[in-house]
Symmetry: D3
Subunit: 242 residues, 6 copies
């Protein structure tokens, strides 16, 4: 099985970090094709950069998606998720959506912990858009952004553990998602310091992508062909097919 | 991997039917230990029978659960799910919960089709208890119960296909769950007659149970030991351990 | 009038405590038939014990319910309430449901205070299942369980009063339910220490049960007869009648 | 016990009709003091007339409320309910609120049937203001207004029965409230034609008012005294007391 | 353009204060006809005074509304808003509703700050009645009432600024409404002390009223004529016309 | 006043149509700077085209936004609205958001009618994202897309009128939004055939944009500067400024 791994920001180093973790988790179960966004922000931390990333993710699918069995959108916040799913012939798994679904299976009220304060309202709205607002106990962010945490993860561990624990003690969460590509692998490190299960969003998404690729998939009706200008040749062609 | 397959009603024939489907789906991925409820209704079709089945499912876990890597509660409606999860050392997957989570990944508004009119309010309340009411387009039931459908599936196919299609045309669902152990395998048969994806609840649950068994599992805090009377020796012992 | 008073846990001492309070409140208005669960936990404090208690309550109704004018399920959390109502020929009043309904009449946002930390999520979900989440200001629990409070109520009074007051000052509740059979009679004792009305769940339920027994009752359609195994002879017979 | 029965419209004939029904239901349990609004619409059928009726109900309480043990606001829609409750020293029962609470105890999803099309949005909003929107299956109105039905009830019976039945078959209600002072007593007449329980709002409110008057009542903090102009002397005096 | 400016309490000084602010904001864009309630509380601070004010607002419209192009109900809490809108031939703008709508355009989660603790539950319920509960971050009140703030605004500035800032830091609001006629003009003064935008409810309402008066207006179906007693001649006449 | 009028699809003819209507509505009140998306679909009718349009709208702002007093995003569905608002120094008005806010002021439950069936789920989700789901009565679409309606509006008039009327009779809407740039001006034509007010989204948005440009504007904290690649020079520069 071959799974397209889209990092919709434009940092090859983040793509490499995520790909390394994903491949370790996947083992022989699937091979991943990592691809970085062609345009947009180095790190996605604002609404504008997320909006652009939605376009970049579509572009990445059109350029590299042929022949894949599934798509893994590996940015916590899932920019462009529903649009990707609309035009893809194969299953599309979003890292944040998959994590929320798994959290719903693991506990009654879940929380999200990530880096970068601007993500708090964006992720709160994302969870609400899934219809899961009633199960969200809290979104807590720590000051360093995902990029900063990835650069120096050890410095962030105790902050992350404290935030996860506060989600339990203050907000009543019984499971916590450690969200973000840049936080890959940290959940296992902080689990001993946190009284409730901590989910690694990269890991949850990887398992979900492999599972989706393995199952038989009955696609919904594709949208009508679109006439467009100014897009990459691949994306224009992809959208131009009914 | 070894997965406890609990059929919480008391019909061995339903257990055998589900086990056959589950084993076909699982292949070599896991071995399943099928167990039938020791007491309760032959078929679960009312609130009273579902309440009793919650107890029967706990009893089945206590009697047969040691050494398993996961529990698959294979009755659409998931009687006793949260109680099982509370006392189990390994992951517990409910057929209806797993189907709803998968449906949320596959479409924006999902519907449930099953047999037996009394299930409609019960399943509507179940979905609401998951916090997913905003994503439920409809619950539609056909007149024959699950037991009657299992006895004569061919007779029900066109009714089921019509109900699934109505969920799309009348209720706006973009994915439909064919719910119930007794309907195992029928989704694939009616898919060609339905314009949106149809999920088989038995199959979705099987995949979810295997996936849960394969992942590392950090258990939530177990509940305190309970003193009890009148329960089976196994259940009393299980609950009596902190 | 004769009202079946079901204590669905298996502690005769709790049944006696509740019966004493109920009979004092009722005076000549009705006579109560107290019955204790035949099997299950001594005290209900977890999801598993509540699930078993749902079965035990059905069993109690089938064994002792003939000839009663109403049923009073006297365990705050109401295990088996909807299943009892489904199979009963007479009105069924749940202690927690009745308390929530009365609280809605008395204030705009109500809170629940009880003993035992595990009840917090269970009662929050119970209120949500009633559709009353928007009117719930808080569920606050104090550390001793209901059983411990019943054994030494004086020690708990100031803790309970403080929790009730915090529901007003911190959570904006304008009425508080003191929930639980084991807390019978304590509401009146702490009322002088609390700035908003405090309802005694045992008392509210008693009045509701008497009122229900006194009114003419048009029963909803009974469920179909169920074939079963392994149940008490009384319950099997009760469920086996259409 | 003495209960103030407020009809907040200005039709003495409606007051007399309701009082007759209420007294029959109450028997010796309580005596009722019927009072008609001093100003406002003959029949309340619009938002403007309901707004004026809120003031008229307060005026009636101030003029006639001294010495009563409870207040029964006998207009389905409960104009001024929360304001009455704020300034009253004794419990206040609203006919619509009491009916909705009773309906929640009797079924899982309730419907309201009444006369006069303009009540539909008003009652839908009223139920939402109670926080009970999730349990409301439908509000159905028939063309004649409450006043017209009271004048010629026999003509309306089959229309009312058809509307109640449609609430079950089309909207999934398992209990129906026949709402409105002018419909007093009709529920029993149409019950044989309707497959689910039909509640008479006048009767439910009467029982609730008697029950409220009989219980010990701990009043919430009264509001501060208000300085006013242009009100009746009684109302000005009542509001002017802290 | 001529806009009726209704102050539904009975304090001419508040009317004058609001009118002065409104006229400064409006400049030449419209002329305002200020009118004070004929009866009711000097200051509206309780549910009873708000209920009476609903009637007073209708009375003011009937007496002074002829020939106006719009109605501006200038009391934060909007007593009688929907009833006014029902019977008015021209657009009706409520100060609180207009402020909430503008706040929704300016931020994702808004808060309200005003004077007088009793307004907190009333405004929370008002926002819920608009269907905007999901966007309300908090209602915070400071101890002095609106009337006291109007009498000595400088003393309240730092309290108001602190409350507005707390709405951002503690409750996550990204825009704050300073609500109440008596707080006219204070938003601009505290804006430099608050990290998120602060809206003046008087100003927002004024702009909304002018905009509504300027646009073409297609009125909804008027309600049927009402027969009434005991109302002012103007109101009786207004309601008596179909 | 100078207002940037962004048409985020790539059809100059749609831009010209909208600009003509907007300028007629605005008269001397403001001058509009119309701009068409540089890349993306000719007509936005799918999730993918809307996602790309969010990027195109940001690009248009960065290229043409300097010196404007407000931004009017003139595509019903408002692609990129929150991202535009995040990075803009001046108010941003979305056509759909402005229409929903106005509809909330005009009626209690509003409906949306537009062209193109795929918009139905997208607009339902959009309204939910505003938190206004409780006030949405229905989204009804007619078969021709916006582009087809613009090409031959007369043919669509009776279909649109029928859909608007059905929103009232079937869905209980008391105000209807005719949504979409391509439907500019049709609301006035169908109003005589529809029993409730019909709002023209282009007109409502124009008034809202002018009003926003005229008011003093206190901007929220701007986001941090972003490092990016592959964007237009203008957009990269705009995002690169703190």
């Amino acid at each position: 099985m071959r799974i397209l791994l889209i990092n919709p920001n434009t940092s090859d180093s983040v793509t490499a970090l995520v790909a390394k973790h994903v491949e370790t988790i996947a083992g022989d179960a699937a091979s991943f094709v990592p691809v970085t966004g062609r345009f947009g922000a180095r790190y996605i931390s604002t609404r504008a950069s997320a909006a652009i990333a939605g376009h970049a993710a579509l572009d990445a699918l059109a350029t590299h998606g042929n022949g894949c069995d599934a798509v893994y959108l590996a940015c916590f916040g899932d920019p462009g998720l529903l649009a990707l799913r609309e035009i893809s012939d194969v299953p599309v798994v979003g890292m944040a959506e998959a994590s929320c679904l798994e959290a719903c299976r693991r506990g009654h009220r879940f929380a999200i912990v990530t880096g970068g304060a601007l993500w708090r309202p964006m992720l709160t709205e994302f969870v609400a858009s899934l219809g899961f607002a009633d199960r969200l106990a809290a979104v807590q962010t720590i000051a360093p952004t995902g990029g900063e945490i990835a650069a120096n993860p050890d410095a962030a561990l105790s902050q992350l553990a404290a935030a996860c624990t506060a989600c339990f003690t203050d907000d009543g969460a019984d499971v916590v998602i450690l969200g973000g590509a840049a936080l890959a692998g940290l959940a296992a490190q902080i689990q001993p310091m946190v009284p409730v299960p901590v989910l690694c969003s990269v890991e949850v998404g990887t398992h979900a992508a492999i599972a989706a690729a393995a199952k038989q998939f009955h696609r919904s009706e594709p949208p009508p062909a679109l006439d467009s200008i100014g897009l990459s040749a691949d994306l224009a062609k992809w959208l131009g097919q009914a």
